[in-house]
Subunit: 466 residues, 2 copies
Amino acid sequence: MIGRAGTLPGMADESTRRIAIVGAGLAGSLMAVSLAQMGHAVTVYERRPDPREHGFQGGRSINLALSTRGITALERVGLAETVLDQAIPMRGRMVHKVDGELTYQPYSSNADDAINSVDRGRLNLTLLDAADQFDNVALRFGHRCLNVDLDRPAVAFENVENESFVEAEADLIIGADGAFSAVRRRLQLLDRFNYSQHYLEHGYKELTIPPADEIPGFAGSDHDGYALDPNALHIWPRGGFMMIALPNQDRSFTCTCFWPYRGPTGFDSIETREQIVPFFERHFPDAVPLMPTLEADYQANPTSSLVTVRCFPWHYEDKVVLIGDAAHAIVPFYGQGMNAAFEDCRILSEYIDELAPNWHGALETFTMHRKSNADAIADLAMDNFIEMRDKVGSKTFLLRKKVDQALHRIMPKTFTPLYNLITFTNTPYHEARQRAAAQDRLIISAGIALLVIILIAWLLLGFWLG
Amino acid sequence: MIGRAGTLPGMADESTRRIAIVGAGLAGSLMAVSLAQMGHAVTVYERRPDPREHGFQGGRSINLALSTRGITALERVGLAETVLDQAIPMRGRMVHKVDGELTYQPYSSNADDAINSVDRGRLNLTLLDAADQFDNVALRFGHRCLNVDLDRPAVAFENVENESFVEAEADLIIGADGAFSAVRRRLQLLDRFNYSQHYLEHGYKELTIPPADEIPGFAGSDHDGYALDPNALHIWPRGGFMMIALPNQDRSFTCTCFWPYRGPTGFDSIETREQIVPFFERHFPDAVPLMPTLEADYQANPTSSLVTVRCFPWHYEDKVVLIGDAAHAIVPFYGQGMNAAFEDCRILSEYIDELAPNWHGALETFTMHRKSNADAIADLAMDNFIEMRDKVGSKTFLLRKKVDQALHRIMPKTFTPLYNLITFTNTPYHEARQRAAAQDRLIISAGIALLVIILIAWLLLGFWLG
């Protein structure tokens, strides 16, 4: 559906709206494409300079795991294929023990299921380029949101380049400006607006494993020029802290350390450059030879915090609505931040399609439908941190995963493990969690029934034998 | 200890600090008195005009229940007697059923225990007057906090009267500016500052029962000119919603309706003036004849929201600290909002006394000590809403209260009911909650033991008789 540029059949329509999107990140630029296809007049405002001229700046992490929800949303606007061409499929977890032992855990018994490592910057450029093809989309970079007049509605910006002030009136304002949303900060001042921001005791720092041929002394790669298997998400679970690595198309990996800020395995336990390698030698010994720039990267890259943001409601009348991290920032441990944001774009677009010109109804239905789902994935993402750092290395966990995937293989329609429901379906998050809980109860009941049968059989056998 | 005015023995001392308090409400003005007594140079900034010139403006509710924690804090600065002279002791709850039946529940088996109805405006004036007696206290009204420079530290104010801008530098800034604290809003922008604001589905509206002789057709009062017993807190519990009334020294009562915003018993169910009296006739029939201005009051008085605010940490280095509602706004159902704020003042003062000149240590110890206690009373206040509106009218609840007070009478040292621990002691809130939970377990165990003994006795008796 891409490429309506030049033809604006919807523009004359009664239902056409002037829409201002604050934030040209992943959610904002995808939403712009979607609304442009529906014929609306869209202007996107972004605080940062144009990444196509100045290079991509910042954002939280360098690569992200795109899965079914994100892909479905991209398919809706005709961009899935383009994006998947830039991605590397990861079909399972590769767990690295301290002694170097590797255990591979496939994500699904279905060989087609994979999560896809994509480069945040490149993906954002792809979405911006797609939006820019539309005559009914205008992109305004270097615009910092200062305030929102909810009732007109209008947004006040500072034009960062010339330090002038700009005011943009619109019919609808979409806040897609991330976890520290300025649009949301205005909503927060409303009476009866519920809001919370909760930080983890853990932070994160990114490091690099370069392509195999750039690692001095590397013996040669079995992995197509990668230093590790590129079709897996690598985890070094250490109980209370961990490191992960995701592949990039340039055959490097981006590693992320999730450690507590404080304590014996915390960021504050490394005070000098000399302490960096010994710490990694102790906890991640097999990674050290793959990280020739470890010391420099560790010192150069920031330690960033991890926040969960919840709020309610996400909209103000028919005038303002929040999407993505602005409405529900979550921790990254389920790989669902971007996927949930893209799902917001799809579902909001669908409600607008269905209910316009009742925009108030569309925004309210969106808020009511998405809030419980956003809360569910926020909780699950937090739970998954504990799973990834503590349980993923354990034998019981491995056994349970095997039982789950076996049941899924035998009864693919009846039994789908929670991870698969979240990652490989579009089942609403809240419903997925409820369904998984019901499945858990079923497994426990079946286990108890099995034990009873064994006990009876054993008694009968004893009786029969003698 | 009041009345060091004119003599400033502490001023020459090394440990003397310039302290800016933002907010001259209950917490801010009491903190000013306390710090002034310790010899510090205190300036209090308040957004509103001077209530001594312009009359008292706004604030959340007209009267408040002062109890042990608040009294202890006032005693520390020598103001308890003055304040208690303005108060009316309430020794129990008077429950009003729909059929007009009254049930009295004493708060304590100790006849001296009472909560004290005080007028918010008058109490605030008393505290301001006390602060104003000190040469080392300056009061600045009409100063609206715009921003805080955390690192200097300094506060930027707008002088509301002449619309000029003022900047105040200090060694320490105390944010005592209430649930919507501007000082806290600045802290909220710090990385890793946890924050939540959660609104109840219920709102509140204040109404009036005038003195008996101002009620047309009132038969004459048994209660010293009051229309109801002034030594009780009156409750009309209706399951899901309620009304309460507290006595004032002018022999009137202030009633507060706590109703949901929406639904058949919600504020939105009354749309016209004609619907007001019938609603009250149906749910609070015995109160209607006592409220000659019901219709006018209902329409004139606002419906206000009820918020719980939690945040962490409450301080920034040795430079900024939050107290009272700014740190921990709670719902009013335990009557502890002001008491907790006054306790903050006492405990912060004690840590400063103990640890100065280590101001950072004092603020940090204060935050660490108080946070879990503030969380505990926030939870308890929410729980007590359910108790007041739903359970307080039930027979089981009444029986349990009687058992509790009987046990307290028999073993006053061993057994103190939760309500008494919270209201009539200075036991830290968190500890009080833990102790009450242990007592609950004990009662349950004792109950089970009793049942077992009865069962055994019954069996033995059967055996012996049979």
